[in-house]
């Protein structure tokens, strides 16, 4: 079992949902990213989604769009993100999922990326614009190297697509809570969580819910039904609003600790 599956299993054993925290690599700079990931892990994040910035993030709302722009303006590249993962690995064992869009991956070379991701100690890939049909070039080499490939399920996915996604998953499935972009206001997180919970039982595979999960209360709502919960834009926003890297670190520690408390099932 990989580190991500381990983290989900451990959280389940401790009667809580695994808390997945998104950080945009390179926002405001990669040195700070390294510290932010360590801080999030120390504060209760079970898995880190490390965002690789892309110029045209069509699935993201304004918060992550702005974070991506700041990161690219600071000179972030996929190669530098991989270096940062190496640095993070010397400080923490928290599982790291590379999260992003396909073009930078295609441009880097899928096989080469898989090898270097494994060598630096990251744990898998989630690519928002790479549905199972298009994913062989990345997914198969990743699986061969023992890395995870995390497929998405959307509210619009029909039975066949859900089955296909479940078959492509190696650790957990990412359930998009609503039709929309990241950071949107969740319309009905409770019923989305219920539907995802039913799917999780049926598929017998851990599900994490993301999109529109912002507060401790949201996390608690989700944690009642599924094994994992993802918070992204809310984290990116506190980093954006912080006046210094030190302030960002402190704000992320506070937020993640609060979210982690929300992930506990009473």
């Amino acid at each position: 079992m990989g580190r991500i599956a381990d983290a989900f299993a451990k959280a389940k054993k401790e009667n809580r949902a695994a808390l997945v925290i998104y950080v945009c690599a390179g926002d405001p700079d990669l040195r700070t990213t390294e510290d932010l990931v360590v801080a999030a892990a120390e504060s209760g994040a079970d898995v880190i989604e490390l965002g690789v910035p892309f110029s045209d993030p069509t699935a993201d709302g304004p918060a992550i769009q702005r974070a991506s722009e700041r990161s690219l303006a600071a000179g972030t590249t996929l190669a530098k993100v991989l270096d940062t993962i190496g640095a993070i690995r010397r400080r923490t064992n928290v599982p790291i999922l590379l999260f992003g869009y396909y073009n930078p991956i295609l441009s880097y070379g899928e096989q080469k990326l898989v090898e270097e991701t494994a060598a630096r100690g990251a744990d898998g890939f989630l690519v928002v614009d790479l549905p199972p049909e298009e994913s062989d070039g990345l997914r198969l080499p990743a699986i061969e190297k023992g890395l995870d490939f995390v497929p998405l399920i959307a509210p619009t996915s029909d039975r066949d697509r859900v089955t296909e996604a479940a078959a492509a998953a190696t650790s957990f499935l990412y359930y998009v809570s609503m039709t929309g972009v990241t950071g949107s206001k969740a319309t009905d997180l409770a019923s989305a969580s219920e539907r995802a919970g039913a799917l999780q039982r049926e598929l017998n595979r851990p599900i994490a819910i993301g999109f529109g999960v912002k507060t401790k209360e949201d996390v608690t709502t989700v944690a009642r039904h599924v094994d994992g919960v993802v918070v992204g834009s809310a984290v990116v926003r506190v980093i954006e609003e912080a006046e210094s890297s030190a302030a960002a670190l402190s704000a992320v520690r506070t937020l993640v600790a609060e979210l982690a408390a929300g992930a506990r099932r009473q």
Partner: protein
């Protein structure tokens, strides 16, 4: 697990569907609806009737005798500028809005660069009584102001997009974000042969009427097929439309003309086929303008409709297999050609279209004087007067 079936809609290695999972079922639904519509004589009859009585088809093919004198080979113009709304875009929007109604969609969104596709979408929505919202880059809102007013008069809501380079690419990003949010009720009316499958197929098919008519008209009027067919290429819909009529005629050269902006060597251009690399943008694999790290680069062109860092996947494939060839001309060359057509033929072409005309001297050298060249006159240039007059003023 078993390897899933490769996605449909491939042109060699190009095309495909690189979009968020949320949109995948909608693309399946659209594919099914389109295939059903193709088998439904009533749909075809309604489409043909609207194209004829409303959009003004067939458009003429016209022998441009005075331009011929200046260029050398015989130049024929397929007059898409005479379509209702002043460009070929309406061929596609009438088809897609009919399709959207058939699917029971109650809201239409579109992206637009020069505003021609936005105007055509707004027009087709007014015709069929559907609400329409158009995403347009803030930079394009500025340089294509008359089209913004036209869309608003036609009842559409125009969203000015300020992110990124504030041009067509960013308008398409915002349209995709809208679609992913409202996908259950909304049809995204894509304006070019770009985007995820089935859009490159649907838009090509709806535009193929250009090539189908032109082929018959050439045989009737010139007594032969053209030796070359020339069209400008941004996303590439007018070019695919006219190429479609001749693709099986091996003797006919197919030539696409991209925007070289300030010049290919300056890096400030919009010519992914001539000077880009393979990448994935807006749901399809094709040629794109990108950095070494796979970040999409802003395009640059005087023509808002060509100012796009990607191109339809079928063009990428036609280039690779050599069935079509692609060149590029600069802003300055396009401006010269714009004026030449005004003076010689009394036709004010769109700046996009002017790129095709600017490439004619190059094509003439390849085919010689005893040859027939068919040019897709994709749109009229009234919308470009502000831009052109400002440029000409700064020249003098």
């Amino acid at each position: 697990m078993q390897t899933p079936e490769p996605a449909p809609g491939r042109y060699g290695p190009y095309g495909g569907r690189y979009v968020a999972e949320t949109l995948m079922p909608a693309l399946d639904e659209l594919t099914r609806a389109y295939e059903e519509s193709q088998r439904d004589p009533a749909f075809q009859a309604e489409l043909d009737s609207l194209l004829h009585h409303y959009a003004g088809r067939p458009t003429p093919t016209y022998f441009a005798s005075r331009l011929t004198e200046e260029v050398g080979p015989r130049i024929w113009l397929k007059r898409e500028d005479l379509c209702h709304t002043g460009a070929h875009k309406v061929n596609n929007t009438i088809g897609q809005i009919l399709l959207a109604k058939r699917m029971g969609k109650t809201r239409i969104i579109a992206e637009t660069g020069a505003g021609q596709h936005g105007v055509a979408t707004a027009t087709s929505c007014a015709l069929m009584g559907l609400p329409c919202e158009v995403y347009m880059g803030a930079e394009d809102v500025r340089r294509q102001a008359p089209n913004v007013r036209r869309m608003e008069l036609l009842g559409a809501e125009v969203h000015s997009v300020k992110s990124g380079s504030a041009t067509l690419k960013d308008a398409m990003n915002e349209a995709l974000r809208d679609w992913v949010t409202n996908v259950r009720t909304t049809h995204y009316c894509v304006g070019s042969v770009a985007g995820p499958h089935p859009y490159p197929l649907i838009v090509r098919d709806f535009q193929a009427v250009i090539g189908k008519e032109a082929r018959a008209q050439m045989i009737e009027q010139a007594g032969k097929l053209p030796d070359a067919v020339v069209a400008c290429v941004g996303g590439g819909s007018n070019a695919m439309g006219i190429f479609a009529g001749f693709i099986d005629d091996e003797s006919v050269r197919l030539i696409g003309v991209e925007a070289a902006g300030d010049g290919i060597a300056t890096g400030r251009h919009a010519a992914p086929l001539c000077a880009g690399g393979v990448g994935v943008l807006h749901g399809a694999k094709s040629y794109v303008l990108q950095t070494a790290d796979g970040q999409i680069v802003e395009a640059h062109s005087i023509s808002a409709g060509l100012d796009y860092p990607g191109v339809g996947p079928e063009h990428a494939w036609l280039k690779d297999i050599g069935r079509a060839t692609y060149g590029a001309v600069t802003d300055a060359q396009a401006l010269d050609a714009f004026q030449q057509l005004c003076r010689t033929e009394g036709i004010i072409p769109a700046l996009e279209t002017s790129h095709a005309f600017a490439y004619l001297p190059t094509v003439a050298k390849e085919v010689g004087d005893d040859a027939d060249i068919l040019v897709c006159l994709s749109g009229r240039g009234d919308k470009d007067l502000d831009t052109v007059l400002a440029q000409l003023k700064s020249r003098s």
